[in-house]
């Protein structure tokens, strides 16, 4: 049985997931996530020793295709989907250092 998820845990995962929460949202989401995770107590109580995990329905196999040139998506069309682009590239605000 796992310990109940706390507001500190939720603050941490929200930060990892790049979501900002108001204090009210933090309380509400923490309670809801706790309820969902508590539902999983039923499977936490199972004896699963020796059971292999299943990550996907089909066995993982290498998929090869013929090495033939095709027509990729048009660069300008793809860049046109972006909020901001410049000189054939996606443009973002500064990543490193202080904001200008």
């Amino acid at each position: 049985m796992a310990e109940r998820i706390t507001t500190e845990d939720v603050t941490k995962v929200a930060n990892l997931a790049r979501l900002a929460l108001t204090p009210d949202e933090l309380e509400t989401f923490t309670g809801q996530l706790a309820e969902i995770l508590e539902h999983a107590d039923d499977i936490a109580a199972l004896d699963l020793a020796g059971v292999e995990p299943m990550a996907r329905p089909l066995p993982l196999v290498n998929v090869f295709r013929a090495d033939e040139p095709g027509t990729p998506l048009d660069r300008d069309e793809v860049l046109a989907c972006a909020p901001v682009s410049e000189d054939g590239q996606f443009r973002v605000p500064p990543v490193l250092g202080e904001a200008p």
Partner: protein
């Protein structure tokens, strides 16, 4: 409500008895009449549809065959990419995005002569069971507009039920085709994982997601499966070969077919009137020559817990791509990190945020084994218990949804209450198997009940045989309760 099916529309268009344009205008007329009330669509693409219908008519006039879905209007769930046409996933975060390519299933429908009429509403990023989690407002059930249509593919189910299009496409990660099909009184199919291409389906839970059809009839659903299914080199999880030849076996009957009623899906949490319809379906199959018995599949009771760890885990990873850089909306900020947080915070609704955080939590260091690892082992149990059942039975049956359509607003306050809608549908996705919902009369409230037919991986032929017999039995019953 009775509307023309896709097969008869295509036959009349191919024969030159009706034009695709006439057919389209009839459907656009019904949309104009009731769409304000139903809100099945995020976008109706009238102009494109008229051009497509005109092209179908030109092909027929020139003596060419436009294909098996000639002139058939089709509605497309708005999480399937359509080139140059907005694809929103009913989320603000994809505002303004026009995909640069068509999903494989969309291409295949067009190649078969179908006429796309619009993009249908869904729970944001397909997360929900009522189509109330849409940034553009809820869809209403055509049978009773105070009720939900189910979800997440509620718009696609409602579009067929309201006669806006005879067929539509949805996606099913935990029941998102079958449950709305049941609640709206139409046929809905979740094919075996890997039988229908996911290229161009906006990813939610990549090991669970599968595209499938809604239709008025089992035969229409079978045809759409064969048209959109089959191998696609663009999807690395695509199974080689064609979709099983289901249309050839619709008249085979169920004589000698072994049918199991899933014990665990008939008791607690299932409304008595819904369970009674499943018993009536079992009796109909037995009367048609099937052997019917109860069978226990113990692991299905753990499906909900496993699903609400696996699906959010995969979603949290898949939805990390919405960061304001490559597509959709951006909220500007001083740094890239702040821009991403501002964009995601403003762009996602509460249910999506809840699942992203849940998924991030269960995948985080210290919790991975306890939650995600355990859930993956339960998937193995699910597969093993189903395998054991399918040694004795060709197909299984159960309710699709525990209840008929519930009232709008009834289950939005508590996420767990909403999740319980999916207890009968989730196990199939976890196992990667096939299942479909067939309308089978109504509940005590007069609203549609769906019976679920479950089959092992690639068991589509016996599944459709059973479905065809149930459809005929329901028709013979003449809507008796």
């Amino acid at each position: 409500m009775s509307f023309a099916d896709a097969l008869s529309i295509a036959a009349s268009v191919r024969a030159g008895d009706r034009t695709a344009t006439e057919v389209l205008e009839e459907h656009l007329g019904r949309i104009a009449e009731r769409e304000t009330e139903i809100h099945a669509f995020n976008l109706v693409t009238e102009q494109d549809a008229r051009a497509t219908a005109a092209a179908v008519d030109a092909a027929v006039a020139a003596g060419n065959d436009p294909g098996p879905l000639a002139g058939v209007p089709v509605a497309i769930k708005d999480n399937l990419c359509t080139r140059g046409v907005p694809t929103t996933c009913s989320s603000k975060i994809l505002e303004g995005w026009r995909p640069p390519y068509d999903a494989t299933v969309v291409q295949r429908l067009a190649a078969a002569g179908a006429v796309a009429v619009g993009k249908t509403n869904l729970d944001e990023f397909a997360m929900g069971s009522s189509t109330e989690n849409s940034a553009f407002g809820p869809t209403r059930n055509p049978h009773d507009t105070s009720r939900v249509p189910g979800g997440s593919s509620g718009g696609s189910a409602a579009a067929v039920a309201a006669g806006f299009a005879p067929i539509s496409l949805g996606s099913d990660t935990g029941g998102s085709i079958r449950q709305p099909a049941a609640l709206c009184g139409v046929v809905g199919v979740k094919p075996t994982y890997g039988l229908v291409s996911r290229l161009g389906l906006v990813a939610f839970g990549s090991s669970l997601d599968q595209v499938g059809p809604f239709a008025h009839t089992v035969a229409d659903a079978a045809l759409v499966c064969e048209v959109v299914g089959g191998h696609d080199a663009g999807d690395s999880t695509s199974i080689p070969g064609d979709f099983p030849a289901v249309t050839e076996h619709l008249s085979d009957g169920v004589s000698g077919l072994r049918v199991g009623i899933v014990t665990e899906m008939m008791g607690e949490g299932i409304a008595p009137d819904v369970a009674a319809r499943v018993r009536a379906a079992a009796a109909a199959l037995a009367a048609a020559g099937a052997t019917v018995e109860e069978v226990s599949v113990p692991a299905v009771t753990f499906g909900l817990s496993a699903y609400y760890l696996v699906a959010p885990a995969e979603a949290s990873s898949n939805l990390s791509r919405y960061d304001g850089v490559r597509f959709g909306n951006r909220i500007e900020a001083a740094t890239t990190g702040e821009m991403m947080t501002a964009t995601r915070t403003a762009g996602f609704g509460d249910e999506v945020k809840r699942r992203i955080m849940l998924g991030t939590f269960v995948l985080s260091a210290g919790y991975f084994d306890a939650f995600y690892g355990t859930a993956q082992k339960v998937r193995t149990l699910m597969r093993q218990d189903f395998d054991a059942a399918y040694e004795q039975f060709d197909v299984l049956i159960s309710p699709t949804s525990p209840t008929t359509a519930f009232a709008i607003g009834d289950k939005t306050a508590d996420p767990m209450t909403m999740y319980l809608n999916d207890i009968c549908t989730i196990p199939t996705n976890l196992a990667g198997h096939a299942a479909m919902s067939v309308p089978f009369g109504t509940g005590d409230d007069g609203l549609p009940v769906g019976v679920q037919v479950l089959a092992p991986a690639l068991g589509e032929i016996p599944m459709f045989r059973a479905a065809a017999v149930l459809e005929a039995a329901a028709l013979a019953e003449g809507g008796a309760k």
